[in-house]
């Protein structure tokens, strides 16, 4: 670590030799799109000509309607050009393997051990096809079956399905099971309300509404905890279920969670636990022990599999005995000698994605759990909570920042902070602080839905980061806050040493302008 500041722009000259902040300057390549780099005829791999003419020799059973009339539009490049392109792009990024990635609270950005990549990319996994005969995929079915059993034990639930492709898909599967359960009992017309809390992940409310339920949201009580009195006012004969995240996305653990579950049960409803924030409670407390009927995990958060840039992640639903018949199909069954996929489940809510789960991620999660064991999982939770509370102490020493709700109390694995005071004092907003942090080689991101806490910042250090990492991160925030008070302009115009200066957020939020594929880019941006 060096202490001298980097002199790149006039704003940098004012930073001064403060704490031992790392020198960082991001690459900038003006890199064109692959399609723009394309040269007609250029190839990465030259496929040998067939020794015998194939015309007419290979039967083509594709219906005419599915046949191309013209070759596909693909960029034409050599391997080296492709490699160089992606290396350059990676240098213009702040990836999880590059920076101290604690700034994406609610995402549990932990380190994904590279050995797990080797397992997932092993040809025995990578070359499987979902339509292969069951007898030829016994190994991977065994991994899935064992992983289900482990997650059942971690949650205390009776049965687990690994089919969902992400957390929200798992929540949706759970809501679909709740609906099927009440439909079977003839109570669905009467029970049309789902209760959640404002700091439960918004996917809970969204999935309930998508499944046709009315949504009731509880706000925190005067102490900043989920409001038990509000729950009592909300439950009744219309209650189908409680969908609740715990700890909530503020890092606050609901101390009366058992009473919440009991209150809903007494009204005849089901209790469904969003355990996507399980990283701070693994091996310490379990959904079933608090009386929950259903729960879900995000394997791409708690169990270290990559987030996959919005997909595919991997989700897991756990249910109690009474709900097993409704699990998504197929299930993986083991009769003592062989594994098989059971698709003959009349009560099932059906498929929540094609085939069975995101297998490479299931392999990674299995490897991760196997490498840690039960005691290791508990240690993960303990270190994650310790890291978080250590960072919280350091962050709260910074001028202008607070941790609203349940003030003065500790958090579990993440904290939703507020820069409201700093914004009031300096006019600098939270988003600008996150961007200025990029000049020091890290960042934080706007994962604070719903926007209830003013000027939010959500940090979740997980177990992956060392004390030195956390000290460095806190020192960066302290430095940016100091700048906000001393030289607000330097922060407002940040980043100064990054590839991209400002992204026009509104273009990312508007379906008319967002473009995540080349085709969409051509249509929406180039007008082609």
């Amino acid at each position: 670590m060096r202490t001298a500041p980097v002199s790149v722009t006039p704003a940098d000259a004012k930073i001064g030799p403060k704490p031992p902040l790392r020198r960082f300057h991001q690459a900038r390549w003006d890199e064109p799109l692959l399609f723009e780099l394309s040269t007609p005829g250029e190839r990465g791999v030259l496929v040998p000509e067939p020794e015998v003419p194939l015309d007419g020799a290979v039967p083509n059973e594709l219906p005419d309607a599915l046949r191309r009339t013209a070759p596909p539009a693909l960029p034409e490049l050599s391997q080296l050009h492709v490699l160089r392109h992606y290396l350059r792009l990676s240098q213009e990024n702040l990836g999880a393997d590059l920076n101290i990635d604690v700034g994406q609270g609610t995402c549990t950005m932990k380190y994904s051990p590279k050995i797990n990549e080797q397992f997932a990319r092993d040809h025995r996994v990578a070359e499987l096809h979902p339509l292969q005969d069951e007898r030829t995929v016994q190994g991977v079915l065994e991994i899935v079956h064992r992983l289900e059993g482990m997650l059942a034990e971690i949650s205390g639930m009776d049965r687990v399905s690994l089919q969902p492709g992400a957390g929200s898909a798992a929540i949706y599967a759970n809501v679909a099971m709740i609906r099927a359960y009440f439909a079977d009992r003839g109570e669905l017309d009467q029970r049309d309300e789902v209760i959640t809390t404002i700091f439960s992940h918004p996917s809970n409310a969204a999935c309930a509404k998508t499944a046709g339920f009315k949504v009731i949201t509880l706000y925190p009580d005067a102490d900043g905890y989920p409001d038990l009195e509000a729950l009592k006012a909300a439950v009744g004969p219309r209650t189908a279920a409680l969908l609740i995240t715990n700890p909530e996305d503020t890092g606050i653990f609901n101390p009366r969670i058992e009473e919440f579950v009991r209150t809903v049960h007494e009204a005849g409803g089901l209790a469904c636990y969003d355990q996507a924030n399980a990283n701070g409670i693994l091996g310490i407390t379990r959904a079933r022990d608090a009386g929950f009927d259903l729960c879900h995990f995000n394997l791409h958060k708690t169990f270290s599999t990559p987030h996959g840039c919005g997909g595919p992640g991997a989700g897991a639903c756990g249910v109690s005995e009474a709900l097993v018949p409704y699990l998504p199909r197929p299930t993986v069954e083991f009769d003592g000698t062989a594994y098989r996929l059971d698709d003959d489940r009349p009560g099932s809510v059906g498929k929540v994605r094609p085939f069975y789960g995101v297998v490479p991620n299931l392999v990674r999660a299995y490897a991760w759990i196997m490498s840690l064991g039960a005691e290791g999982l508990r240690e993960v939770a303990e270190v994650a909570a310790l890291n978080n509370n250590y960072l919280m102490k350091k962050v709260l020493e910074i001028r202008g920042v607070s941790a609203p709700y349940a003030e003065g109390r500790r958090r579990v694995e993440q904290v939703r902070y507020s820069w409201a005071e700093l914004a009031e004092d300096t006019g600098v907003h939270s988003e600008e602080i996150g961007l200025r942090a990029a000049d020091f080689g890290t960042h934080y991101w706007t994962s604070h839905h719903p926007y209830v806490v003013p000027e939010p910042m959500t940090l979740e250090p997980t177990e992956s980061y060392s004390k030195a990492d956390l000290d460095e991160y806190a020192a960066i925030l302290a430095e940016v806050a100091r700048e906000a008070y001393d030289d607000a302009e330097a922060v407002r115009t940040a980043p100064h040493r990054s590839t991209v200066h400002r992204v026009r957020e509104e273009t990312l939020e508007d379906p008319a302008t967002w473009a995540v594929t080349w085709r969409a880019y051509r249509r929406k941006i180039l007008g082609a």
Binding site: K209, K214, I216, T217, A230, A234, P404, P450, V452
Partner: protein, 362 residues
Amino acid sequence: MVNPVAGLGGRAGLKGSDGAAVQARARALGARPRASERAALALAELRARLGGVPPVLTAAGPMGADAAGAAGAAFEVRYEPGDPTAPADTRAAARALAPLVDLLLFAGGDGTARDVLDAVGASVPVLGVPTGVKMHSAVFGVSPRAAGEAAAAMASGGVPLRDAEVMDLDEESVRQGRVSARLYGHLRVPDVPVRIQQRKTGSSAPSPGSVEGIAAELAARVPPSDLLVLGPGSTTRAVAAALGADVPVMGVNALRGGTAVATDLPAEPLAALARSGPAWVAVTPIGGQGFLLGRGNQQISPETLRAAGRDRLLVVATEAKLAALGGRPLLVDTGDDELDRELAGHVRVITGRSRTAVYPVR
């Protein structure tokens, strides 16, 4: 010190009580001055908490002596107002009392607060007993009793003071459909959180998406043949627009089946209308401050609320508006203690189509 005419215009739907003409019209519409009564309520609370009222210096007759007498307090008159009283009397009385007291307790609204500020500035701690129509300033107790409670806390010692905003409603933005208030200055008030109301934030025009959801939910709940009374506010106005009616932002308006049947209703005709058949009342809290009833919508009287019934009182707010309350409860001060008690607890707030929140009310 009591501004005897404060609040007179509110029950008559007049958005303010300034000027002799407005006051005469309010009286003609059946309004009755209640400022003295509310000031006495604050003193009664003060006595209950302290086991007695500390020595009271006040102005004569309706400007304070009546209230002190009604509360059974021993008082001395230090100022004689004219008849009828005028804003100049408020300023003169404040100047006469300020050097002699530890706390200047005044009953009135935003206009009274501005007069007090003009007269005595930050030279003495003050506290407002809310009796006016517009109370966007942060110098008032959330109710007369809360003001009495805060005054008692101050008399017992150890309560710090803080600067609190005195606001002036921006008439221009009211005409444009945005209720927002302008900062006029600061007074020193005892810092007793929750008991003192928060400054109203200039709630910007609500995003249409969620308001349309709220409107759709109201349309689904209220039968087209029933009366729908909409309280003032930009949320309720946008809801009215989504239901097909164009109504003024500040008044209380009544709709039936998506058409306005009466706009800008005063308390009495409104209560009569509400009694004439099944009626629903939809109100929205004041942004940032949380008042649901009793501030800016006094035309919706306890009589109207009782005629509609608790089940037909619909509270509407966007989630952003609830979020902006920062965890503070919704507040009610209908002027009817029993009704306030019935409304306290938790209320279902309609935040969109098939979406509600359960929110505390105090």
